[in-house]
Amino acid sequence: MDYTNNQLHVIYGDASLGLEGPNFHYLFSYERGGLESLVVNQKEWLYRTPTPLFWRATTDNDHGNGFDVKAAQWYAADRFTTCQKIDLTVDGQLVQPLPIAPLNNRYTNHEMANQVALTYHFVTPTVPSTSVSITYTVASDGNIKIMTHFAGREGLPELPAFGLRFIMPTTATGFDYQGLSGETYPDRLAGATQGQFHVDGLPVTPYLVPQECGMHMQTSQLTVTRSTTQNNADQSKQPFSLTFSQADQPFAFSCLPYTAAELEQATHLEELPLPRRTVLSIYGAVRGVGGIDSWGADVEAKYHIPANQDLDFSFNIHF
């Protein structure tokens, strides 16, 4: 393929839309409801499609004040929210309906575009349900801007968190970020210093009972580095990286070997599974951890996330 015109190669598949450039190849799946493959320099970055994230593992304080019970619907939503509808826009034109066979028979293997956007519309299994949309806008250089929208709805419990979860096929060797030192939360970040920080591996803060941990608030850029893949034909151990950066506002993230559900499951650190993947959670909103007491005191009101208001956040992926 000749990329001299610096355009995206668009592959109108029967179950997915492929987007290709000189050193990247993305698969936006119609049947899996999300970005199924993010290959940069021949390295796959996704284990499963990214999904909206509504849950951070509950803390001891959450248990004490009953927030875990009040918010329980979001635990289910975190696991079972499904994609209901997909919008495809190529160079500003909505392609409707989705170009699956026979509609895509009109294309060739030489379709090009300057910008392609896909929006995945999710519906939560909460009562009442609400919707989340994730829009991936891919530029011709492969940069992806991700915009996430949560539709506020009366009658829903406050959210533990709202974000997007990326599960990567193998463990990271570490990550570098521009933001705040240490582990920070909305109500616990005054003592942090601003800077560029490197973290080796995927440390899980060793709280006696595994719980939410490893949050980094107010981040402007994050680079995750791995050195292994699951590709049987790729024996290289050379490190490779992917970068997530602020779009409109700084974001929060945690980069751990476990999902919130895995952390939630364990009563001791040694019960956690062997680390084998990287779970990168990018957050637009995080509930505070609280701290007045651990048997009833709520997190201070300004660190709650009401669910009756829209939430939006965005960031970029590049390399």
């Binding site: 304080n61 109500d187 006696l208 701290g291």
Partner: protein, 626 residues
Amino acid sequence: MQANLQWLDDPEVFRVNQLPAHSDHHYYRDLDEIRTGSSFIKSLNGPWRFHFASTPSERPLHFYSPDFDSADFDTIQVPGHIELAGYSQIQYINTLYPWEGKIYRRPPYTLNQDQLEVGLFSDAADNSVGSYLKHFDLDDSFKNQRVIIQFQGVEEALYVWLNGHFIGYAEDSFTPSEFDLTPYLQDQDNLLAVQVYKRSTAAFIEDQDMYRFSGIFRDVNLLALPAAHVVDLDIKPEVKDDFERGTLAVTADVSGTDAILELTVTDQNKQVVASQTQSGTGKVLFDSMPFDNLKLWSPTNPTLYQLLIKVYNNQHQLLEVVPYQFGFRRVELREDKVIYVNNQRLILNGVNRHEWNAHSGRVITMQDMQNDIQTMLDNNINAVRTCHYPDQLPWYELCDQAGLYVMAENNLESHGSWQKMGAVEPSYNVPGDNPHWLAAVVDRARSNYEWFKNHPSIIFWSLGNESFAGEDIAAMQTFYKEHDASRLVHYEGVVRTPELRDRISDVESRMYETPANIASYLENNPDKPFLNCEYMHDMGNSLGGMQSYNDLIDKYPMYQGGFIWDFIDQALLVHDPITQQDVLRYGGDFDERHSDYEFSGDGLLFADRTPKPAMQEVKYYYGLHK
């Protein structure tokens, strides 16, 4: 006198033949020994012969007799917890009594009972017994001297015998117990026998939120006393109104023969700034000594003066030297109802600290203590509450040197007697107003005072923790007020018994109060300054919202800060056979029920002493008002 097992059942018997509490000064044969260590002290730490019995009825009866055959005894390390040596089940429990749902028990003399219940502890299924034996010979320097044995901490009741003779009995697990061995001592092959009971009536007032252990868990020493010896040293430095001049009053309680006491005080430049000689025995009073150009002790400048007393006999032979580092500082609760130290408003950037080591429980080392001090200094912590018992003897001296304010708490908590499942229900509260429990708790107040009275770091005496309140606790305050004008008295139970408001605490002290409620108290013509004796419960991933407490400092002069709960997670390192790793275990992990599970982990440090991520927040906020 013979030992009586039923002392375990009687709250009015808590010390038998035990020597009176006294100051924690060190003493040496000569000046060189200050560097090299005192030859008057012989440590009995190390391996002891040991027998474990699950109940009192299974204990070896005459094990203290020199002709007892102890061939079937094991060996145990002293100091150490019997549970961690594998003999008895480990249990962590918070407020409820450890026998919850296992044994029905009520404290003697409550619920209108006017007599003891024999067997309440002396014949109880949950009262395990450790029988310890130690042989020792006297060093030459100990021969023909008075010799004292000092147990610095034994949980929770102990009986002592020497060479077959009963020596004494003690309770109060976290306070040193001393007995005079002299009458039965021999130069060679002494047999020391100690029987340690896991429970006694003291269990009702030692219901702290912690692992429940038993055994000899702090140092054991033999102390030789020279012919004349300073038994107690009472150092009373006073700061004048100008904060530049002061006076020093010293009283020495001398045992033995008439002695000549040469006292000198040197300053930080090793210049002698006071000296005086007195002689006598019994209470020896020094004339008040004036001081000019005082350098005050404070957290930012923990300036100490070196007092030295040389004790001579009438032939002017040196018998002992007693050094003590003391400091001048002035603690005042002024008319504006604000606490000042050295003319500056007190702001407590404090933390509660249990003694803890993940390997050995409450058996901690000097290195552990030094590490804890350094961690506090590194993170702008300026105050520590010894929750909820007196700490090891060296702790207070370390705090003097480091410049940490200390709230010195008595060994008292009767939480299970008045609060059940969160509800206040004091129907069988002890000590309450109960005359039968009065002497025990006042004795604890006295011991805490006598041992630690000379430490400038201590600015509050704390009557105890979560024991409700009544006349007995008021009597503890009376004791402190009668003995010590240089410090304030703290008790959190002041919030539960308004009728005792002026008799149990100089401060309004609350736990885990919300910033809004604190502001409300301070806005409504408060009668006492406010402090949080516990706040910012740092369980797991926590410590959010500290800003709101910090804001109170700037807004309300009568808000004096507080003590974060708490310093270090209580968790134990154990080997996990599944992963083959050493892992940290918490309440409930030893099959013990009832337990309060992970509630044992609320520290700013993980149990292995690494700081939790939240520490940077503490350092920041505590750095704003140093």
